[in-house]
């Protein structure tokens, strides 16, 4: 069970981010979560939004480099050790994590961690078997 993440190329220059947020605003796209990987020259903006396909189309039309990536958003109990259990389950199954970031989803009143792993299907199965619920695309929309 995966959701779609937008990965957007952001050049390190004044106004680079505003260019992207303006396009999303104009298309009425709601951002649920974000994280940035930054290097000296550029950043990769990773976004979870309510309507990923519409967002990609709008950004591409605006001349922005963007791709869609399938990621896992795992629901976590809001207590110490909650994340550790999920990570341990993946480690035991020999699944490496490329990157991860957390967000709170007001719609569902829960904490989530987005995980980027090499093999989504296997990771999803491992988490499922360990009792972790995963977010599906429809969880991101208000209806």
């Amino acid at each position: 069970m995966t959701i779609q993440q937008l990965s957007v190329f952001v050049e390190n220059k004044h106004g680079g981010m505003a260019e992207i947020t303006e396009i999303l605003k104009n298309q009425d796209i709601n951002i649920r979560a974000l994280s940035i990987a930054d290097t000296t020259d550029y950043g990769i903006l990773r976004l979870i939004v309510d309507r990923p396909e519409a967002a990609v189309e709008a950004l591409k039309d605006g001349g922005i480099t963007v791709t869609l990536t399938d990621v896992i958003a795992v629901e976590l109990p809001d207590r110490p050790g909650g994340l550790h259990e999920a990570v341990t389950a993946l480690t035991k199954a020999d699944i490496s994590i490329e990157y991860m970031y957390a967000f709170l989803c007001q719609l569902r009143g829960r904490a989530y961690v987005v995980l980027r792993v090499g093999d989504n299907d296997r990771a999803a199965g491992v988490l499922q078997n360990s009792g972790f619920r995963q977010m599906v695309t429809s969880d991101l929309c208000e209806t």
Partner: protein
């Protein structure tokens, strides 16, 4: 492939006949220079060379060189050899590397130039039935009017679009049914990209071929243009001091550019010693305007690096070929003592399947030259993982290193953020204070 010639009797002439024409024209030209240009009279007198000593084209080595600075020192009309009433046209160089240089033509010179350009168009397969879309700038720059007159001389139809307003260029390609496109290679690539962005299927256009010049360009750039516009791309060479585009041109063999040597006599010399170099050896290209009257330059140092090949071409032409110039020594960067031509970077990028949009920045950091090549991020290269992008950057840097023999830093920038050129592309920013 069927061969087209504009003047087969000259383009395929025997070596002796060509030499006879050249010798005759050189004699006449040297006499004209000595009698009418004080600068040349002084130079020949200083060297102790009498015009009557110049009999054969082989005597050309006795003559002095002319440099761009000589044109600047005699700005604007100091080297003109004809009275004012015989001047029919004036052009000027773009002046990107300093004060502009002014060139004058008689009516006959304009015809010589148009003939050169007409031979180029014919060699690319252009016929009297074709529409020639000219997207070079019209004005003091020789590109626009050069190909315009060439197309008319050949008997084809010229469409004088000039450069700029790229969407309109695409519209005209579609609506007017242009068969040939003439502009700088960087603008051709931009027109091709614009077609793609506008959703125009270039395979449906009547456009067959293009003649691109005024910039040094690589084979990778040629493939890029041919793919984007779905045409065959030919190189044309020229410089305003000698005439403009049409000094030399590619034929269907695309194995060097045929020099219109009955008008513009080429030599390759060692730039340090001034000695002529044998066939096949690279050196500085030098031209003598044996076919022109108003500005008859003797042994003009172009600062372009090329080599000559006198063998008969498979296309049937005997006109000497100059190998595709590596670039003008003006454009050449010396980085940590190594010669770097922007066209080499273009080559590396296109070999990696990237579009040839780049900007070279050179700085001096801690007394050491530092070269940064800005490359546009493309969707093919992009990933959500930094590691993967860095691998790509290293791959580009590695390919640059192996081609240039010096290291360069690669900086990825947003797509379309590097400016597209409608004329000659600006590819280098050199911030070193020398």
């Amino acid at each position: 492939m069927e061969q087209h010639y504009f003047q087969p009797e000259i383009e395929c002439a025997g070596q002796e006949d060509m030499k006879k024409t050249q010798s005759e024209r050189l004699r006449k030209m040297v006499r004209n220079c000595y009698d009418n240009v004080p600068f040349y009279r002084q130079k020949l007198d200083d060297m102790g060379v009498k015009p009557e000593e110049i009999q054969s084209i082989d005597d050309i080595v006795k003559l002095p060189f002319t440099y761009k600075t000589d044109l600047r020192d005699h700005y604007p009309y100091g080297l003109v050899a004809v009275p004012r009433e015989k001047v029919a046209r004036v052009h000027a160089s773009s002046g990107t590397t300093g004060k502009q240089t002014v060139v004058a033509y008689t009516e006959g010179d304009v015809d010589v130039w148009a003939t050169g350009a007409a031979r180029a168009l014919a060699a690319a397969g252009c016929t009297t039935r074709d529409y020639v879309h000219v997207s070079y700038g019209y004005g003091l720059f020789t590109g626009g009017l050069g190909l315009h007159y060439g197309a008319e001389k050949l008997g084809a139809a010229a469409i004088p679009v000039s450069s700029g307003n790229t969407k309109r260029q695409v519209q005209i390609l579609q609506d007017f049914g242009s068969d040939f496109l003439c502009c700088t290679p960087s603008y051709a690539a931009f027109i091709g990209e614009t077609c793609r962005d506008m959703g125009v299927d270039t395979s449906k256009l009547p456009l067959r071929a293009g003649i691109f010049g005024a910039e040094a360009w690589s084979e990778g750039m040629r493939e890029n243009i041919e793919r984007l516009l779905n045409i065959k791309a030919y190189d044309i060479y020229g410089l305003s001091e000698i005439a403009g585009p049409g000094v030399s041109f590619e034929c269907s063999e695309q194995n060097g550019l045929h020099v219109n040597e009955d008008f513009f006599y080429p030599e390759i010399i060692d730039p340090d010693t001034g000695e002529q170099l044998p066939d096949g050896e690279y050196g500085e290209l030098v031209f003598t305007c044996i076919g022109k009257e108003a500005l008859p330059l003797i042994r003009y140092r172009t600062r372009d690096i090329s080599a000559l090949v006198h063998e008969k071409c498979a296309c049937g032409r005997t006109l000497v070929r100059m190998l595709k110039p590596k670039g003008r020594t003006d454009d050449m960067l010396i980085i940590r003592g190594v010669n770097v031509f922007p066209s080499q970077i273009e080559y590396v990028l296109t070999q990696l399947g990237l579009e040839p949009n780049y900007l070279i920045e050179v700085d001096r950091v801690d007394n050491r030259d530092n070269m940064v090549v800005q490359v546009e991020m493309s969707s093919a290269m992009f990933s959500d993982k930094v590691r993967q992008i860095e691998t790509y950057e290293r791959q580009i840097a590695g390919a640059l290193q192996s081609t240039l023999n010096i290291s360069a830093e690669v900086k990825l920038v947003a797509p379309k953020s590097l400016s597209r050129s409608e004329g000659k592309a600006q590819r280098v920013i050199d911030r070193r204070k020398v």
